[in-house]
């Protein structure tokens, strides 16, 4: 998709049009705990969106660093639901296969989802095992911590799946079908 089509998707399908109300006050970037590490703070990101430079936005690490703390959202004087736009930008970036090269979050999210799709639930181990394939260094760095947890009997190795797992999977499958046709 080109910039114009991407902007249309963001603004029409995902309610990004409310960014037109942004007064560029910078309250969001000022209250964001991760802004110092972001390629663009939320304020700058939204200005780029209005200008239509969507490819630049989708390459940024900004939305991947967003921890959903809602600090920005509750302070925005224009009532822009900033955190939700961060979610949207992650979705569009993945759909378009565009990604900041340093971003590790999709690997973590997918590991999490792998466990949910299979069992309907997660345990720390079920996510970590999947994540370890994708980002071994992050998991190795936590090996010492894992040992401390194991000693305190805090690691659950077995996932106790949803009881009606067949039913659960049917519901999820139907949801995906409905999403495709809509």
């Amino acid at each position: 998709m080109d910039n114009a089509a991407l902007k249309e998707k963001f603004f029409e399908k995902y309610h990004g049009e409310e960014l037109q109300n942004c007064i560029q006050c910078g309250t969001c970037s000022g209250s964001c705990p991760l802004a110092p590490y972001m390629d663009y703070g939320p304020r700058q990101l939204f200005q780029l969106a209005r200008e239509g430079d969507m490819e630049e936005i989708l390459k940024a690490n900004t939305m991947w660093l967003c921890v959903s703390c809602y600090n920005c959202t509750v302070k925005c004087p224009r009532d822009i639901v900033i955190t939700d736009h961060m979610y949207t930008l992650k979705k569009i970036a993945l759909q378009e296969g565009i990604q900041a090269p340093t971003t590790k979050l999709p690997a973590l999210y997918k590991s999490f989802m792998g466990s949910v799709e299979r069992y309907g639930k997660i345990t720390d181990i079920s996510v970590m095992n999947r994540y370890a394939f994708r980002q071994p260094m992050d998991v190795m760095g936590n090996a010492f911590l894992a040992l401390k947890l194991a000693r305190r009997k805090r690691l659950e190795y077995k996932v106790h799946p949803v009881k009606n797992l067949a039913g659960f999977k049917k519901v999820m499958k139907k949801a995906r079908e409905l999403e495709k046709t809509s």
């Binding site: 959202t73 509750v74 992650k90 805090r154 039913g167």
Partner: protein
């Protein structure tokens, strides 16, 4: 009083949260009945990657609660709490999504109307119980213990309808009811713990943990109390990397248990990474 209970995935593995919650809810007779066959709420992962499935996961939990006639769904995790509430808001304002969610849930003969009220157990204890009734169960005097009440993000934000957005006081009130002292002006109470970013982005999140811990020290606290498994873990686990004095991070239910005279082993205090020893404060 009877509540539908949604434990969430991390409850069981959390350091004594399950044991202490079960013990105090029995004492206080807040009957937490587990919602049968619950699934993961999806948390930030699903909101980040999916549209409809991100709504289906919390909707299924609430539909199961409706099926068993629960009027209220009680959470013990901030992320579960906010995910359920967020799904409820989104479905309430979008008829088409509501239809699609119900079409998918029909595969399991479930249906969702949005009739359940979403709550957090801490807030249930503070709002549904008479503090004088809670005080009747106190067996141990905690007045020499000063607690920094740490709330994290997703209990009050983005709604701000059950407490103040930046400076909530509900847990402060609970701590006072229990006879302990509240660290005054604990301004880090709603600083984000970094949530799931602590693993991939630990370096970027540590400054927040430093602030949560150092502010607790600065305000004279001997322990931090939490109400979410992710918050507890993120503030407890990385302290060795902070070059600050360690401070134990307890669940509010463990603190209640201590006041009610329960044993350290009933509350599984040994599962905490930074140890908490009641004897140190004399009880």
């Amino acid at each position: 009083m009877k509540y539908g209970f949604f434990p969430g995935c991390t409850f069981k593995g959390a350091a004594g949260y399950k044991e202490s919650t079960e013990a105090v809810s029995q004492i206080l007779q807040t009957e937490l009945v587990e919602i049968e066959d619950w699934n993961c709420c999806g948390a930030t992962s699903y909101w980040s990657l999916e549209d409809l499935p991100a709504l289906i996961l919390p909707a299924r939990v609430m539909a199961l609660a409706e099926k068993h006639n629960f009027k209220e769904v009680v959470n013990v995790c901030n992320a579960c709490y906010s995910t359920l509430r967020k799904a409820q808001d989104k479905l309430a304002e979008d008829e088409r999504l509501m239809e699609q969610v119900n079409e998918a849930l029909a595969e399991e003969t479930l249906s969702y109307t949005g009739s359940t009220k979403i709550r957090h157990y801490m807030e249930v204890v503070v709002n549904d119980l008479d503090p004088e009734e809670i005080k009747k169960h106190i067996k141990v005097n905690l007045k020499h213990l000063t607690i920094a009440p740490y709330y994290g993000c997703q209990l009050n934000r983005p709604w701000g309808d059950i407490d103040d957005l930046q400076h909530p006081v509900m847990m402060d009130r609970l701590i006072e009811t229990l006879g302990a002292s509240v660290a005054t002006n604990y301004s880090a109470k709603t600083v984000c713990c970094g949530a799931s970013h602590m693993m991939p982005y630990e370096k970027n999140c540590l400054p927040q943990i430093r602030r949560i811990v150092s502010d607790a020290h600065a305000k004279g606290a001997q322990a931090i109390s939490t109400l979410c498994p992710l918050c507890q873990f993120n503030v407890d686990a990385p302290q060795s990397a902070l070059d600050l004095p360690d401070i134990p991070v307890l669940y509010f239910t463990q603190l209640m248990g201590l006041a009610f005279g329960l044993e350290e082993k009933d509350l599984q205090l040994k599962k905490l990474l930074v140890p908490f020893k009641m004897a140190v404060w004399g009880g």
